[in-house]
């Protein structure tokens, strides 16, 4: 391990050469220490690197001060407390952990997409989430998703799949933690829906609905109307005085409708996957009809309606620049292919649309695990080749993603008070030659390239 545990008592200071004042100060420090370090919180100072905070300009030769699980200070002139573990990042880059705003990481393919039913808002992705490494192998202990931590990814959104119309509830989780529960940042974080071809292709061959786009929108409407009625039934019941309530019949609970009520109340947004312009318009129409917050997923043709998306402040989570066909598998849709434009991210960003670049990573066959999220910085770099400014590309995999996921109070930037999810890179973040050297999650060093190389 690289980070030494902070031990205030191990300071060996000679008092022989200093006066009483110094002795008094030292005493004061000793007296105050239980208060300052009541939980023995380790302090880490990452200094000397170029600090990319994501909310301000780059800070050359900056310092990121971590106390315990939180960031305490960030800047060019941060005072480093005595006893802090110093991490020298001279010549390196320091930035917040990467946030992958859409992935299927940790969910085995057969746990995605319950295609026995196009509408299952009650299903929760978190219940298919397996962050313990390879199934039936390895040791227990703290959770470390090493295969994406090595790409600097510290927070991910996990979704229940994209072949159903309403697949269920997604979650935002971290990629390292002391146990399963400590990974969860937000759950449910959104309701996942899909428009267009994927649900059609899943159900139409079985001669079941939805066989058309009409039916896809119809199913969503029907379900949301049910949720509205469910909401009314429950609020009417809850509004009754206690004595009446005792007499009245308690409405039955419905887990799916409960989740959709959260959507209708604006507690969580809908993540609607839509690629073609007509599907994007349907998503917007439904959101306005029912008044829910919309996040557009994939959005291959989103640039075609960028003014509209900008005006309505609808954020877009784009698929990878190198392969934007997030749902198409190998035989992707020619209509979608024709809409593809590498400048999608740049054009949307220019029009004022908040964008995130996400991996949508899932396993492909038995040879690959869904770990391409670790190359998100390269996807961001690719977007810069087509006009997205570097700064916006980096935001698209950090703060923008965190904001879209509703977890920006915790992650996505280097700011005092936020979770200490910090990565150190050995070069500029948008180069193929750059490696993530260290990853801190909640102030803990959870990945070190050097240690990984030595097989630790």
């Amino acid at each position: 391990m690289f980070s030494q545990k902070h031990k205030p008592s191990s300071k060996r200071q000679s008092t022989a050469h200093v006066g009483w004042l110094a002795v008094a100060m030292l005493l004061l420090v000793v007296v105050l220490q239980p208060a300052l370090y009541s939980q023995e919180q380790p302090v880490i100072a990452i200094r000397g690197g170029t600090v990319l905070t994501m909310t301000g300009p780059p800070i050359p030769n900056g310092t990121v001060l971590i106390r315990g699980a939180k960031i305490e200070a960030v800047g060019a002139e941060v005072k480093i407390p005595k006893g802090a573990t110093i991490v020298d990042a001279t010549g390196k880059y320091v930035m917040p952990g990467i946030v992958d705003a859409m992935s299927y990481y940790g969910i085995r393919p057969y746990d995605l997409d319950d295609t026995s039913n196009p509408v299952t808002p009650e299903n929760r992705a978190i219940q298919g989430f397996y962050p313990f490494g390879e199934f039936m192998r390895g040791k227990g202990g703290p959770i470390r998703s090493k295969d994406i931590l090595d790409g600097g990814v510290t927070t991910i959104y996990i979704a229940p799949g994209d072949r159903q119309v309403i697949g269920g509830q997604g979650a935002v989780v971290k990629t390292a933690g002391k146990d399963f529960d400590s990974l969860i940042l937000r759950e449910p974080a959104a309701i996942d829906m899909t428009l267009g071809e994927p649900p059609k292709q899943a159900f139409r061959p079985e001669r079941r609905s939805p066989a058309t786009r009409m039916s896809i929108a119809g199913l969503i409407r029907k379900e949301l109307v049910k949720a509205q009625e469910y909401d009314r039934t429950w609020s009417t019941y809850q509004a009754k005085p206690d004595e009446e309530k005792a007499k009245a019949e308690k409405p039955r609970r419905e887990l799916g409708l409960e989740a959709l009520v959260k959507l209708l109340h604006g507690e969580i947004p809908a993540r609607v996957q839509a690629d073609l312009v007509d599907d994007i318009r349907t998503a917007i129409r439904l959101a306005e009809e029912f008044g829910f917050a919309l996040v557009l997923d994939s959005g291959v043709a989103a640039y075609k309606v960028r003014e509209l998306l900008g005006a309505k402040k609808i954020p877009v989570v784009l698929g990878p620049t190198s392969h934007p066909f997030v749902s198409g598998g190998e035989g992707f849709d020619l209509d979608v292919y024709r809409m593809m434009d590498e400048r999608n991210a740049a054009l949307l960003s220019e029009a004022g649309v908040k964008i995130a670049l996400a991996s949508f990573a899932r396993g492909l066959g038995n040879l690959a695990s869904p770990i391409t999220g670790k190359w998100l910085l390269l996807e961001a770099a690719l977007a810069t080749a087509y006009g997205l400014p570097d700064e916006e590309a980096l935001k698209a995999v950090t703060i923008n993603a965190a904001e879209i996921l509703g977890v920006a109070d915790r992650v996505g930037s280097l700011e005092p008070g936020k979770d200490a999810d910090v990565i150190i890179l050995d070069g500029p973040p948008l180069s193929v030659k750059t490696w993530v050297e260290r990853v801190y999650v909640n102030g803990e060093l959870v990945y070190s390239r050097e240690a990984a190389k030595q097989g630790q």
Partner: protein, 403 residues
């Protein structure tokens, strides 16, 4: 051979129209490119070089090239030029209507990708935009033996002009995960040997009577047995690779391993048989464990000739170079990474007399980058195919602005 000629002739009538945007480019095939850093793929980089192109061919390359009067000069100072990139394993043009796998026929060496090639798909234009100028595209891996590939340029005025090599190669797949897979392939080679022997006896007069019946599939197999072309074998696992190498030992054909996921585990066995390998990763599409990604450097060090591939549409044709870039990240030297998308696949596909490097006498297939060729931040500025400016970013941007 007879048949392939007649097919070529008939296809002469099929004059292909390149997309309008590309045709608008300068159709002149003589030009001098001056001032770039040129990576020839067969020697050290040449700073501030001039590449002279005349009649679609490279006629000179170096620092002291005399430019003949009347030749148009393009100043590309500060740019990087690499050979037009080559994808040795693609399904571009064949997958669109699911024409890449004839599942009902598990042994079909007679099938030819040319017969299923859709040149209207936008992926061809995209390939050019990504600097990929030649592809080996062919049948899938759903059968034991699936047919013959075509080696074709991604841009050109007509189909015959675009074709570098049609047919010849035989594609196999060691992926069925059944033992029948191997016995069927051995059995087919044995039949091909018998077929060759029957024809030899007939043609030498040893055996009188009517000629043996022609069998197009066995004809194709005979060609690879005579080493007139190679076998391309889809294979992932180390034990399958070894089994395949044993079949090669038995029948003595030239072999390229396709995908080669675990080839690094048996690198020496592959190297000592002079077998080349088309290797992963597939651009940025699929995440693999570090050991696999480091495997390319292991293979290269062991002396195995390697080439990258996209397996289009698994990953997209135009991002071929990222396979090489990712391999660099995992230890493959830069010059070897470049070879893996240029001269190596050219040699493996037996078209290196025409393409794969920037050398005098070769087709003028060139990619001009605005930065290092392997960086995602860099973008293709220009692409030449047979000396014709097939893609020009500045023109594309102008037309975009006009829209």
């Amino acid at each position: 051979m007879e048949l392939s000629k007649s097919l070529l002739l008939s296809s002469l009538a099929l004059v292909l129209m390149a997309p309008a945007g590309l045709l608008a480019a300068d159709a002149n095939d003589s030009v001098a490119l001056r001032g770039a850093t040129v990576y020839t793929a067969v020697g050290p980089p040449i700073q501030n070089a001039t590449i002279l192109i005349e009649g679609g061919k490279i006629t000179a390359v170096g620092t002291d090239v005399k430019i003949p009067a009347g030749i148009r000069v393009l100043d590309v100072t500060g740019k990087v030029i690499v050979p037009g990139m080559i994808d040795d394993h693609s399904h571009i043009g064949t997958y669109e209507f699911r024409d890449e796998n004839e599942f009902p026929v598990p042994v079909g060496p007679e099938f030819r990708a040319l017969d299923a090639l859709n040149l209207e798909h936008p992926a061809w234009t995209d390939a050019v935009r990504g600097g990929v100028t030649t592809v080996v595209t062919g049948p899938g891996s759903g059968e034991h033996i699936s047919g013959q590939s075509i080696t074709i340029k991604t841009f050109g005025r007509s189909l015959p002009e675009r074709i570098l090599k049609e047919g010849g190669e035989v594609k196999m797949a060691l992926s069925k995960r059944t033992l029948t897979n191997f016995s069927t392939i051995r059995d087919t080679f044995i039949k091909a040997r018998e077929y060759m022997e029957a024809w030899r006896r007939y043609e030498s007069g040893e055996k009188k009577g009517p000629p043996p019946k022609r069998d197009l599939g066995l004809e194709a197999m005979a060609r690879v047995l005579k080493r007139e072309d190679r076998v391309r074998a889809h294979v992932h696992f180390a034990h399958d690779i070894l089994s395949l190498l044993k079949i090669k030992d038995e029948f003595g054909f030239d072999l390229t391993l396709e995908h080669s996921t675990e080839a690094y585990k048996v690198a020496d066995e592959i190297a000592k048989r002079n077998v080349s390998a088309v290797v992963l990763p597939l651009a940025l599409r699929i995440g693999f464990a570090d050991e696999l990604l480091e495997g390319n450097a292991v293979l290269q060090k062991a002396g195995v000739k390697i080439a990258m591939h996209t397996d289009h549409p698994v990953s997209q044709e135009k991002w071929l170079r990222f396979g090489a870039a990712i391999s660099m990240r995992y230890g493959l030297p830069e010059e070897e990474a470049l070879k893996a998308v240029t001269i190596n696949p050219a040699q493996m596909a037996r078209v290196s007399d025409r393409v794969g490097s920037i050398e005098k006498g070769k087709d003028a297939d060139l990619v001009v980058f605005n930065g290092p060729w392997y960086e995602p931040k860099s973008r293709v500025a220009m692409v030449f195919v047979n000396g014709v400016l097939a893609y020009d970013r500045s023109q594309e941007e102008k037309s975009e602005e006009a829209q």
